[in-house]
C-alpha cells in the first residue's frame, strides 16, 4: 500500500482486540509464569536515574535502595517487555497510518493539557507503588489469575476514573 501513511485505518473492534489481548496474556503466563506489566520498569528506571544523579540518597532510601544495591537495576524481564511494548505499538501505529506527532492530551493542548498529563502521571506512579502494580500488572494480569486484589483494583480504578472525569467536565 503506497498511500499507507495517508489512509488511516480504523481500530480493531473490541471483541477482536480483547481476544488477541487475552491470548497474548495467556502466552506470557505460559512462557514466564507471570503476566504483563509496566510500572516494574518505570520503578527500575526511577531507581537507575536516582543512582546516576544522587547515589547517596538512593543508598539511604528504604524503597528504591535495595533495587540499586546489586548494581544496574535495568537489565530485567520487565525492561525488555516495556521496550517490546514501545516497538509493537510503533509498528501498529505506523503500519495503520495512525502515527502522528501530537502534543494534545486528554485535557486539551498547551500548558493546561501538559500539566494534567504530568499530574495524572504522578498520581498513577504513586498509586502503582501502593498497589504493587498498575492496570496491566494488577488489573489485567491479576484478573486472569482470578486474584481478588485484581477485581478490587479494577473496581476502584473505574469508580475513581468516572468520578474525576465527571468533576472535570463540571468545571470546564
Amino acid at each position: 500500500m503506497l498511500s499507507g501513511t495517508t489512509t488511516i485505518r480504523q481500530f480493531w473492534p473490541p471483541w477482536l482486540a480483547g481476544l488477541a489481548l487475552g491470548l497474548v496474556l495467556l502466552l506470557t503466563f505460559l512462557m514466564t509464569g507471570h503476566g504483563l506489566g509496566a510500572t516494574g520498569f518505570t520503578t527500575r528506571f526511577a531507581a537507575w536515574i536516582g543512582e546516576e544523579v544522587a547515589p547517596t540518597v538512593m543508598a539511604a532510601n528504604d524503597y528504591l535502595g535495595p533495587l540499586v544495591e546489586g548494581g544496574n537495576p535495568l537489565p530485567s524481564w520487565i525492561t525488555w517487555e516495556v521496550l517490546g511494548v514501545a516497538l509493537g505499538a510503533l509498528a501498529a501505529a505506523y503500519s495503520a497510518g495512525r502515527w502522528r506527532l501530537q502534543v494534545a492530551g486528554a485535557q486539551g493542548s498547551g500548558l493546561r493539557g501538559m500539566l494534567f498529563a504530568l499530574i495524572g502521571g504522578i498520581a498513577a506512579g504513586f498509586g502503582a507503588r501502593v498497589a504493587a502494580g498498575c492496570t496491566s500488572g494488577v488489573g489485567l494480569s491479576g484478573g486472569a489469575g482470578l486474584s481478588i486484589a485484581a477485581f478490587v483494583f479494577l473496581a476502584a480504578f473505574f469508580v475513581a476514573g468516572i468520578a474525576v472525569s465527571r468533576f472535570l467536565r463540571r468545571r470546564s
Binding site: F11, W12, P14, G18, L19, G22, L26, L27, T28, F29, G33, H34, L36, A38, T42, A46, W77, W80, G84, V85, A86, G88, L90, A91, A92, R98, V103, G105, A106, Q107, G108, S109, M114, F116, A117, L118, G120, G121, A123, A124, G125, G127, R129, V130, A131, A132, S136, L140, S141, A144, L146, S147, I148, A149, A156, F158, V159, A160, S165, S172
Partner: protein
C-alpha cells in the same frame, strides 16, 4: 511439557511486549481521547477489551490445567492486599482521567507520537520518587487490608468453572449494555475523532470540551 516454562529472558520479554503493544495500539489504547471516553461512557472499548481479555486468558489457563499441561502452583497470583489494591487502583483511575493514560498505555501513546504521553511518563517517575521519598509514612498502605483468600473461587467457595462461567456472562453483558449506551451517546470514537481530539457525545458540556480540545 508442563507450563510455565519459566523463560524470563530478553527474548520472551521482547516477544510478550511487542505483541502486547501491537494489540493495545490496534485497540485504540495509545490515544487519550479514546481511553478517557470510557469514563464518559461514550466509548466502552476499555471495559470490553479488558474484560474479554481476562476471561480468555483465565479460561485458557483453566483448560491447560485440566489437561494436565500447566502446574497451578507455579503461576504468580497477586497477593490479596485489598486496601492497597483499592487505594492504588483509585489513584491510577484518577490519574487516568486527569492525564489520559495508565502506565502501560502511556508507552503506547508515546510510540504513536504523542508528547503528552511522554509528559505522563515523566509524571510516573516523579510519582515513584514521591512514594520512595515518603516511604516511611506510606509503607503501611502497602500491606493494608490483607485477607487470607487469594482467588475468587477461594473467597466465595465456588468451583473455578462456575466463577469463569459467571465472568463470561458478565463480559457478554458488558458488550451488550456498552454497545447500547454507545449508540445512544453517538459513540464509539472513530479513529478520526480520536486523533483529532473530537469527542462523541450529545451533552452540551461534552461538545464544549470537544471544541476546546
Amino acid at each position: 511439557m508442563t507450563f510455565p516454562l519459566n523463560e524470563t529472558g530478553i527474548t520472551s520479554g521482547l516477544l510478550s511486549g511487542f505483541l502486547f503493544g501491537y494489540v493495545l495500539e490496534n485497540a485504540g489504547f495509545g490515544n487519550p481521547n479514546k481511553l478517557t471516553a470510557q469514563f464518559r461512557f461514550t466509548d466502552w472499548s476499555v471495559f470490553k477489551v479488558m474484560f474479554s481479555a481476562i476471561v480468555v486468558a483465565a479460561i485458557g489457563m483453566y483448560l491447560l490445567r485440566l489437561a494436565g499441561l500447566a502446574d497451578e502452583g507455579n503461576f504468580f497470583i497477586n497477593p490479596p492486599v485489598l486496601g492497597a489494591a483499592a487505594i492504588g487502583g483509585g489513584l491510577i483511575g484518577a490519574g487516568f482521567a486527569l492525564g489520559g493514560y495508565c502506565p502501560g498505555t502511556s508507552v503506547v501513546g508515546l510510540s504513536s507520537g504523542r508528547i503528552d504521553a511522554l509528559v505522563f511518563l515523566v509524571g510516573l517517575l516523579v510519582g515513584t520518587w514521591l512514594f520512595a521519598g515518603t516511604y516511611a509514612s506510606v509503607e503501611s498502605l502497602t500491606t493494608l487490608g490483607t485477607i487470607e483468600a487469594e482467588t475468587l473461587p477461594q473467597l466465595i467457595g465456588a468451583p473455578e468453572w462456575l466463577v469463569l462461567a459467571g465472568l463470561g456472562i458478565a463480559a457478554v453483558a458488558v458488550f451488550i449494555i456498552g454497545t447500547r449506551i454507545e449508540r445512544r451517546l453517538n459513540g464509539p470514537l472513530t479513529v478520526e475523532q480520536a486523533t483529532d481530539g473530537r469527542q462523541a457525545s450529545t451533552s452540551p458540556q461534552d461538545q464544549l470540551q470537544g471544541d476546546i480540545a
